[in-house]
Structures are given as C-alpha cells and as structure tokens.
Symmetry: C2
Subunit: 165 residues, 2 copies
Amino acid sequence: MDPRLPTAEDEHFMRAAIRLGEKAALIDGTGGPFGCVIVKDGKIIAEGSNHVVSENDPTWHGEMEAIRAAAKKLGTFDLSGCTLYTTGEPCPMCAGAIFWARIDRVVYASTIADALCYGQFDDQPIYQDLAKPIAERRTPAVQCLREEMLDLWRRYEAKPDRIRY
Amino acid sequence: MDPRLPTAEDEHFMRAAIRLGEKAALIDGTGGPFGCVIVKDGKIIAEGSNHVVSENDPTWHGEMEAIRAAAKKLGTFDLSGCTLYTTGEPCPMCAGAIFWARIDRVVYASTIADALCYGQFDDQPIYQDLAKPIAERRTPAVQCLREEMLDLWRRYEAKPDRIRY
C-alpha cells in the first residue's frame, strides 16, 4: 500500500480532528478551526485544539497541545510509532515539534493555501523566512556572549551522566 | 546604533539566560543548557529553560516556556515590544513560536553549529527539511478529507464574531 494515500482509518481519525477544530472555532470560540489527534496502535492517545485566543497563548496550536499530552500519557519525549492527524497543514512551529517528537506520520486535511484563503492565516512567509540564516530573517537577531556560553557548553559536554535526547 | 550589535543591557540579560541554562543542564538536570528570558521595557517579564528530559515533553524548550509565560503575564498573545534572549540559536519550532508571538528582537549566544559540536543537538537538518514542501519532507505526510475540512473553513469564515489573530 502506498503510505502517501489515506486509508479508511485515516478518514475516521481525521473526522475526530475536524470535530475538535469545529468545537474550538464555532462552539467554544477558543481559536481557529484547528484540531489534532495523535494515534498509536489504532487508538487515539491524545487530542488538542487551538486555544490561541481564549488562553492568550500564541503557541497553543492543536498539534502542540496534542504532542504534549501524548508525551505525558506515554511518559516519554519520543513519540515514535504515532501518527498525528491535524485539520490544517502544520505551521513551522508545529512541524518543528513533530520532528522533535519523532512522530512517524502526519495526516492533514486543508493546506496552508486554504488557511490563508479562508482564515487569513499566513504560514508561507514564515516558512520562507526560516529557510534563511537567522541574520537575514525578519525578526532582527543579534549574537551576544558566545564565549561565555561555550564555557557552559564545555561543562555540559563533560557531564558524565547527561541524558542524550 | 546598529540594532544588530549587542549592548551592555543585552549582555546583562544574556547572563540571566545563561544562568537558567546552567541550572537546567548542570544543577537540576532537566534538559540541555538552554535558558531564555523575555524582556519588555528593560525588565525581565518571563523566564524559561529546557525541561525535555525531566518532563518528558519534546516541546519544552526554554523559548517555548518563556513565550507562554510572557503571554500569560501580559494577557495577550501579541508580544510586540519584547526582546527574547536565548542561550542557543532557536530551533525551527521556537523560531516559529517567536514569529507567532510577534517578538521584536532575538538575542542568542551560541549557534546551531555550536549546539551540534558540544551537545549533539542537530537543528540544521530540520531547517533544511522544513524548507521543502510537506510531501517531500522526511516525515511521511498524507492529505485526507480536504473537502470536509473546507466545509468547516467556510463556516468559520462566515462567523461574524471571530477574532482575527
């Protein structure tokens, strides 16, 4: 089977994510129509939805909430073996979190272009910006005290019991 | 004054961030040597440090904690007017969060190359991966039920009282 084609199971779990997005945007009014479920071994282990508006939290995307909940539930920062279902193609923040969490597979419904068209959510310039070196991005960035930080890095490197992750 | 050069104030706040990173990595052992402070009007309004290991949370980077805390403290998801100090050049997840939070300026100490050299933290492949369309990234991605999601998008677009963000 082509892993890039959705299955009937994918549709089932995506409908659960869409219901969460609908609740967030149209019923509770917590944020945009973004819902997310994380599935392992055929079962939903965590859910999330957008709460940027209600919680005044710019990082509270559905994917972020679901990843944190899944990691807490499984007791590990390694979500290998999990599939993440999200109503919208992930933004760079969530795509980065998906990488760090070692999620196996992502299923999404609408595209970044759809989110711009219907919701004025514009992720594309962020993707373009992050493809540049930090000194060329829109947010001005300054390097400071690298040598003092390298001293800390060397002490961290020499720590015998540090946990690699 | 060139806004791309660090000031004495920048060094002061970066030392606070380095102390948080040192505490996280060498004293409490919560994660890597990553600390962050967010400054508004010359004062630290929020702090964060890496807790990936101790909290089993792959998203618990210092920047994420500090951004969430700053937004909570100010009661808004818009952190315009704030400068973020971080011990390491931000990863794509945190750089995305910095964008969404509308942080004005970023000050960092060590580079992505330093983090790889001393800590085996490898952000560069994530940056390279996120510069590609979702279908070409390492994590397999599948689109599913776009039409059902577009129905929700249209109802969201038609909602008279939605809060734009």
